[in-house]
Structures are given as structure tokens and as C-alpha cells.
Amino acid sequence: MNDMSQVPVTVLTGFLGAGKTTLLNRILTEQHGQKYAVIVNEFGEQGIDNDLVVDADEEVFEMNNGCICCTVRGDLIRILGGLMKRADKLDAIIVETTGLADPAPVAQTFFVDQDVSDRTKLDAIVTVADAVHLSSQLGEHHEAEEQIAFADVVLLNKIDLVDNKAVENVQTRIRKINPYAKIIKTNHCSAPLTEVLGLNAFSLDRVLEVEPDFLESDHDHEHDDDVTSLSFVSDTPLDMDKFQAWFGNLLQEKGQDILRSKGILNFEGRDDRYVFQGVHMLMDASPMGPWPAGKDRSSRVVFIGRNLETMNLQEGFEGCKVA
């Protein structure tokens, strides 16, 4: 997923009324000198009229590849394939999802479909959240939690409609689900487009920059299928065979509950840093060059998902350390 000729694709999620259409209209109308195509869903909030707007049906297909949670967006495969046949090259593509959509099938499409991953690359998942309603939406709809959990960027919109305390609270709530997402506070989705598009968040080298903004305190469970995150660090090198066995098995068995995973690994006897990132059971992994001289060689892994506390992640990770 690293070729320069791949067109970046930004996935725009968020509940109905959060402000996705405002952002899309800005992307389509602002003078930025870029050529963007926008794939909208049929339940869009209001009509957006532009030559480069494509209607999609948000069709989620199961793949017959033995991976039980592997679903992809069939319409996206078709539309991205069509857009790649254009004579004029696009600078970026934006995919809007419906408010109740699970972002996983969109992300998985880029892992599973060879034609899609040859010509395009997943740039980032951007979630527009409504500062007024997000807290209640998180309690009521697991899709809202998923959209926050998958996000690389959360545009916390409509902050002018709530007081500072409420903004603090909703940020804390977002952090509990996803300590890695960049939170941008806005009114009318007025964030600079450079902070939303062209982020390269799914490229493996960006994983190296991951510095979680973790909360110190344990959080209280509001209900059983809360999305949470856990991360582990080790200065002791890991055994590659042990890690592969543990991690492969973990994704196979618990992949449905693990929404996103990322990591930088220091394997015993290897000079290169190994980097991976995954969505459910699918993952992309690669050596990413040698460790920088003079810096600590520490392994870091991160999981965002449900029921993480039942997966014995700590013990599993510890068990991969070289004895």
C-alpha cells in the first residue's frame, strides 16, 4: 500500500446531523486547486450537486475466503474501479458513509481487493462527531462507538453549542474509546482541509509515530460491549515465532472484537523494525528499516476493541518475550 501513483481515499463517517454534508460541501466548493471525487450514500442529508459526486448503495458483501468477519463494500470496488478509468487523474476520493454504518467493511475493502489496493489507498478514517449529541449517541448506538474507534481524526463539531465542561467530557469519552485519534474541535466543520485529507494514516510508516494519548485512570464500564483500548510496551526483544503464533491465533479467534490493532515490534536477532496494522482479522505488516541509532528498541502494540479484558492480551504479549 505504498505506491505513489495510488489515489488516496478518505472515509468520512459520523452520525446523521453531525455535519458530514457541511464538510463535503466545503471539500467540493473551496478553491483548493485539487480534483476530488465524492462517493455519497443514498440517504444523504441533502443533495450535493457536482459532476464528481457518485451515488452509492453501501452494499456490504461477505467474502468467501474463510474469514468469518470479512465483509467488504461491493459498490466501492465497482465505483473505485470506474473512477480509475477516468482520463483526468483525481487527487483524492472521499467516501461518505451513512450515519449507522460500520466503518470496518470500507477499510477491509482496501485490504482484500487487489485492484482497489493497486490503484488506490486508504488515507484515513475521519469521523464527524456532534459535541451536543455524541455522548447520548455513544450510549445508544454501537455504530457510534465503532465510528470513534476506527477514526484517525475526530472532528468534534458544534462546540459553540455546548460549554467548556461539556466539551471536556465528550473529549474524555472519545479518548476512552480511541486514544490515538486526533481530535479537532470545530464549528461548522471549519477545520483546514489539510488536517482532514492527505493524512496517510493507514500507511505503515505512520504507525511509527503513534503516541497514544492515554488516560491514566481505569474507566468505568457503562455497559458490557463498550469499546476500549489497551496497549503494551516491552523493552525485552520478542521472539518472532512466538509472536506470530500468538497474534495469528488471536486475530483468528478474536478478530471480530478487535476493531483496530497497530504495533511496532523489536524481534530478537533482527535489525529491522517490524510494523503492522490491522482491521479485525485482516492486517498489513512489513519490516520498516533499521531501528534509529541511539533510540530505545522497544516494542509497542495497541488494540482497540470490545471485550479486550477477556483476551489475556497482557499474558499473551508477555509470553512472546525472549526468555
Binding site: 459532476d51 459526486v53 448503495d57 461477505e62 475466503n65 465497482r78 470506474g82 473512477l83 482520463a87 487487489q114
Partner: protein, 351 residues
């Protein structure tokens, strides 16, 4: 130049392939937009491009350019006389070989992904719906499906229309008064669809880099697997016939003779191109031979015989072959790629 340099220069230049016969006698064009589709009509070859243009190639003439769509020409079909195109501008068009354009329908931001035609019937799909116009009808008959249509195909009689989508194929049959349907089920997403020339089988290419087929008499399933890539192109070759398919390092040709077709039988594999993946298949009309285009732009011609060597028709130019078509009286060949290159040449020497 030192001896060593001379030696290297000779060595290197001998690695650069010489022009093939077709390349040296043919005309070369670059149209600055990907070639997306092509079809052979009664008198010409029509080619669709990524900038919305359609070009008609007549033997011994300059190509005729038609500004058809405001975007990509996604699909093309012919009833012999006219061509029908679907575009990402949402329009379904009927074009004459003289360049007259009639807009049959406009679905705006919904693409017209697939088209088909048979005599006085023309069909297109947009989203989940298939629209059929027959005879002089102004208004289309609309057939709805449970998911977006992947492909359309008439059988050789024009009475049956196969529509592929998620989970299988719907076969519509034209009755006295209305269209009736039956469903062929197979899990997964089906795209391109086609009937065998005798109308006894239906075949689809799938998202999972495999083909699926059904024997229509008893709905027996035929799974054709083992491909390293998606099958973008397939075609029926020879009288037997064989189903020649892309998606591998060669053309994989499944036998459809006998009463069980390819059930339990091995395919014939021809036109091996090493590491490249085949992307386009076109039979040499009237022969048991097939043109095979690859993702590096090379094209081979091979008989359906594993013991025969293929001929190199076109050398690699770097981008994927997206069209191969033979002119109506079999005297010219057109080869197009996704960079907009077209090779237009007589097929035989001294033509």
C-alpha cells in the same frame, strides 16, 4: 567505445524485443485516455474511452470520433447496426456508426454500469435496476434486483437475459406478455456474466478470483477456481467450445463439450507469459485460437493446444491490455490498453 561496452550494448539491445510483424505494419495511436471497452459491429470496431469519447474504426479509414459521454464510457454493446453505451455521467446512449447520438435514458449521478443489446431490444443497468426497451416502446420495462447489477447478457436467441448480482444470477425470460424470472444461487459477488453459445450454461466471474457456472437444465453448479487474480475477461472459443479466461499467467480454457462440460475435467492452459497476469481474452473468429492480453501490455496468440508455441502479437508497453477486437470480416485487429494506446493493424500479411 571499449570492447566491454560494445559487448554490453549488443547484449542489452538484443534484450529489447524487436517490433512484431503487426506492430511494424500497423498504425499506432495514443488517445490520452484509458481504453475501457470495445465491440465489433456490422461494419466497424467501436471503442470506448475514459474521457467519454467513442471511436469507430473502419477498415482502411481514419477513426471517427464521437463525443458521447461526459466521463468514462463504462460499457458498450451492439445489435450489429447500432452501438449502446453506458457512462459514469449516468447516461445510456444509442450511437449510429455515422456518429448520430440518441440519449435513451439519464440516471444522473447513478452510473450506467452495464449494457446489452439484441436486435430491437436494448438493456442497461443502473444500480439495482435493469431497464429494457423492446421494439418501438418509449417507456422502459424496469426489473428490480436485490443488489447492484454486476453484468448483463442475452442468450443467442435474445429471449433470455442473464443479470448477475450479489448471491447469483437472475435469468429473465421473455414470455407472451411479461418477463418471468428464475434465480441461480451461489454465495458471493458476481460481475461479468455470459451464456454459452448453445445457451446451455451460464458463467460469471466473481469477486473471489474464480468463475462460477450453472448448467441451466438442472442448475448443477460448476466452480472454476485456482486463479491468482480476478477474472476480468472471458470468451467462448472454437466450436467445441472452450471458455477461455484471463486472471492467470496464461489463458485458462475450460472444456464445455460433452454433457457435463468442465465437471471433473482439467482446463487447457495456453499462452504462458511468465509472471504477467492475463487481462483480456478475444477469440480469433472461426479458429480454435485465442488472443491473450496481459497486464504489461503484451499480447500473445495461441491455438488451444498446450504443445503449440504462442506468437507474440504485441510487445509489452507497460500498461494493461483493456481491449482486443477483430474487424467484421476478420481482416483487421485492434488492441487497446489502459494508457490510451491503440494498435490498429491488418491481421494477415498482404491484406
Amino acid at each position: 567505445m571499449s570492447e566491454r561496452e560494445k559487448f554490453l550494448k549488443e547484449k542489452i539491445s538484443s534484450l529489447v524485443p524487436e517490433e512484431t510483424e503487426l506492430e511494424s505494419r500497423g498504425e499506432h495511436f495514443n488517445f490520452q485516455a484509458p481504453v475501457t471497452c470495445s465491440v465489433t459491429t456490422s461494419h466497424s470496431i467501436a471503442v470506448g474511452f475514459g474521457d467519454g469519447k467513442v471511436r469507430f474504426f473502419f477498415e482502411r479509414e481514419k477513426p471517427r470520433i464521437i463525443d458521447a459521454h461526459n466521463g468514462v464510457v463504462l460499457s458498450i454493446a451492439t445489435n450489429g447496426e447500432y452501438i449502446f453505451t453506458g457512462g459514469d455521467d449516468g447516461r445510456f446512449l444509442k450511437l449510429s456508426q455515422n456518429g448520430d447520438i440518441v440519449e435513451i435514458a439519464n440516471f444522473n449521478s447513478r452510473w450506467v454500469d452495464s449494457v446489452a443489446a439484441y436486435k430491437d431490444s436494448m438493456v442497461c443497468s443502473s444500480g439495482r435496476n435493469v431497464y429494457i426497451w423492446s421494439g418501438d416502446q418509449k417507456k422502459a420495462k424496469s426489473l428490480e434486483h436485490s443488489s447492484t447489477v454486476g453484468g448483463l447478457a442475452f442468450d443467442h436467441t435474445g429471449k433470455r437475459l442473464a443479470v448477475s448480482s450479489y448471491g447469483g444470477v437472475t435469468v429473465w425470460e421473455r414470455g407472451e406478455r411479461r418477463w418471468t424470472s428464475k434465480r441461480l444461487v451461489w454465495k458471493g459477488s458476481h460481475s461479468k456474466v455470459g451464456f454459452s453459445p448453445d445457451g446451455k450454461y451460464i458463467v460469471t466471474s466473481m469477486q473471489e478470483s474464480e468463475l462460477h457456472g450453472w448448467r441451466l437444465r438442472d442448475k448443477v453448479d460448476l466452480a472454476m477456481r485456482g486463479y491468482p487474480a480476478k477474472i476480468k475477461s472471458f470468451a467462448w472459443v472454437g466450436d467445441t467450445p472452450h471458455l477461455a479466461t484471463s486472471g492467470d499467467h496464461q489463458a485458462i480454457c475450460w472444456p464445455f463439450d460433452g454433457k457435463d462440460g468442465p465437471l471433473g475435467r482439467e482446463p487447457v492452459c495456453v499462452a504462458d507469459c511468465g509472471k504477467q497476469i492475463s487481462t483480456f481474452i478475444e477469440p480469433l473468429t472461426g479458429e480454435k485460437a485465442v488472443f491473450v492480453g496481459f497486464n504489461d501490455g503484451s499480447v500473445l496468440l495461441s491455438e488451444l493446444d498446450e504443445n503449440k508455441n504462442p506468437f507474440v502479437i504485441r510487445n509489452p508497453k507497460g500498461s494493461e491490455i483493456s481491449a482486443i477486437a477483430i474487424s467484421p470480416n476478420r481482416s483487421y485487429i485492434l488492441i487497446g490498453d489502459s494508457d490510451g494506446n491503440i494498435l490498429w493493424s491488418t491481421l494477415w500479411k498482404n491484406n
